[in-house]
Symmetry: C2
Subunit: 376 residues, 2 copies
């Protein structure tokens, strides 16, 4: 390959040069004011992206580690209501089963959540609610604000996976009542994989559970973060913190409002192309649910083969995602996360349109032109 593939996935995403080059620094002591300042920069900017003034920590682990930290610290031995309409909702449910009495409130992937059933579970005593805000497996954005309102009404804790929305779409953890919120580094933040940010409300601290996993013990994170210098309880993945800090400074320079508008526009461009082709978006949305602005999931028309289409696109140097689990072969997904802008979108849509035609299918109209009209 003459150069790296263009990853148009719902994470990992291409990193700006500044972010990548930040990692090549020599080792520093992680118990030093210098590291403390790096950590503090990350926390300051992430708080704005989360829309929170709560405590916020960075764990050296993937988004899944962040999910588990949320459930283990605040869900152990609790009655947990898990809203599920995709793969990551399922993952939160699986994790919840390891710690508490978990009940799944299940909808088909990419279809609206059953909020009436949530109310029922809460009336029956559920103490904790889990939600994936932006479900990348199905390209749907779930009504976090509404879920937060319902959870608060019943005095339940609200654990929100914002792994693929924070830093790219509107997230207002405090206004929505998300007691715990999580982000992954390699999604909208455009940093490398390997770190998870997690915020914790005072309300959550008051209900902290005993005996979480040692590595994910948030009380230990709190204690170390309060020190001078600010620290993590165990050795952090220092180069990833250097990179995340740089990614955060880029976010600060762009400004969250502009960054969110950019993500929305990129997703609109992809949806315009899909519409022009005469294809269907996979999610079935309603008044409360929206299409994701960080990944667009598209249903393959009858007979069109994923294992024919995506290899043609890849041969042109671009990787888009297929479906996961039972959606394998049924959908394709184009990520619009992080540092992505018009050139990447246009190249991706042109290559996809070409692959569609090359495998013998017709498009109703020119998707690339439709996208240009949004972007130009």
């Amino acid at each position: 390959m003459e150069k790296e593939l263009l990853l148009m996935l719902p994470g990992p995403v291409p990193m700006p040069e500044r972010v990548r080059y930040a990692m090549m620094r020599q080792a520093i002591n992680h118990r030093s004011p210098e590291f403390g300042a790096v950590y503090a920069d990350c926390v300051r900017v992430l708080k704005t992206a989360f829309g929170t003034t709560n405590d916020l920590f960075v764990i050296s682990g993937s988004g899944t580690a962040g999910m588990e930290a949320a459930v283990a610290n605040f869900g152990r031995d609790k009655d947990i209501a898990c809203l599920v309409n995709g793969k990551f909702g399922e993952r939160l449910y699986k994790i919840s089963q390891r710690y508490g009495k978990a009940a799944e409130i299940k909808s088909d992937w990419g279809t609206p959540l059953n909020l009436d059933a949530l109310e029922e579970r809460l009336e029956q005593g559920a103490q904790v609610v889990t939600l994936v805000h932006n479900e990348t497996s199905a390209g749907i954005k779930n009504p976090a604000k509404e879920v937060g309102r319902i959870a608060r009404k019943h005095d339940a804790l609200f654990l929100m996976d914002g792994i693929t929305s924070v830093g790219g779409d509107v997230v207002e953890a405090d206004a929505w009542g998300a007691d715990v919120a999580i982000v992954g580094s390699q999604k909208c933040l455009a940093a490398p994989p390997g770190l998870a940010g997690i915020s914790v409300s005072n309300r959550a601290w008051e209900r902290l559970c005993k005996n979480p996993p040692f590595y994910l013990d948030l009380a230990a994170y709190k204690k170390s973060a309060a020190g001078k210098p600010m620290e993590t309880p165990y050795t952090p993945a220092v180069p990833l913190f250097f990179a995340l800090r740089e990614a955060c400074l880029i976010i600060e320079e762009e400004g969250m409002a502009g960054r969110i508008a950019r993500h929305q526009k990129m997703a609109q461009a992809v949806r315009a192309a899909v519409n022009a082709w005469g294809f269907s978006l996979f999610p079935k949305i309603d008044a409360k649910h929206e299409y994701s602005n960080t990944v667009t999931a598209v249903s393959y028309p009858q007979g069109m083969k994923d294992d024919e289409v995506r290899p043609i696109i890849k041969k042109m140097g671009i990787v888009i995602a297929g479906g996961q689990d039972h959606l394998k072969g049924k959908i394709f997904r184009i990520g619009t996360m992080g540092a992505v802008s018009a050139p990447e979108i246009l190249a991706t849509l042109a290559a996809t349109q070409h692959a569609i035609k090359k495998t013998g299918y017709k498009v109703q109209g020119d998707g690339v032109q439709a996208a240009c009209e949004v972007l130009g």
Copy 2:
């Protein structure tokens, strides 16, 4: 600061340029043959450093995550005998308390382990033994082979923390009967912090416990590693894997025998200097215990002040470690881990000797000269 500080700590340690530069690559898909090959390179070389043909996985987390993976997967609800003669032995004990019925077999930091007490605990039914092979908090190397022999005699599982010995000193996990062994990336491997390697014997797999933390579920690691391409169950910290692969290739080029001999020689040089100064090594060793070859712990003579000595050394651009917890102010520690060679050792000993004199103390002889005689 005109350039980075020289870290002569028991981790993190300076990384070779090749290792650092490997991290600045653009993002790649971690579900790809390319990532699988990176992971496979790491596993191949780490197996030689562990002295094992067992399964071996790399977790995106610190050495502490590796410790917890060992205890959580093989110690839950078990009777665990924890050998403790330093801070990291204590940590394994604390982790063991979260999962099983843990009993501490405690010696003062840096003094020999009580192996008779271990035999007793095993006779009383202990099913799992935990040991820190190289206890950096006290500069002592514990008798892993002997502990393995005793554990096997009583049919107990042997969980060995080799975090600061693997890749720098003799480790023979299979020959010693270490059912689970752990390494940290930022120690003798001279890679960045943030990854832990963990090996698992068949004997351990047969006794796998239910319900480990989701993120540290080794059965999931086994399943993903067996796939084509080789994968991790959750998103790995890809840049750290690039760096670890490069560090592993360097180990392969140097050869483990040469690498171990180099570590031993560097530690000998430090000990020769300490001896020439007329200072005392902190650990109290016996026929079964040895001085660590990856960190040398030295007792401060009466009245010599850590907070006077180490700042002088730091002003010359070099960081050595003080004591941890109750040893704060009582000892100093010089790491000899990873890519370290004569220049770093000589500079460190010269600066330390200068700091000793400058704070008003006399040395009996020239430690720098003594070290040169070992190194030259």
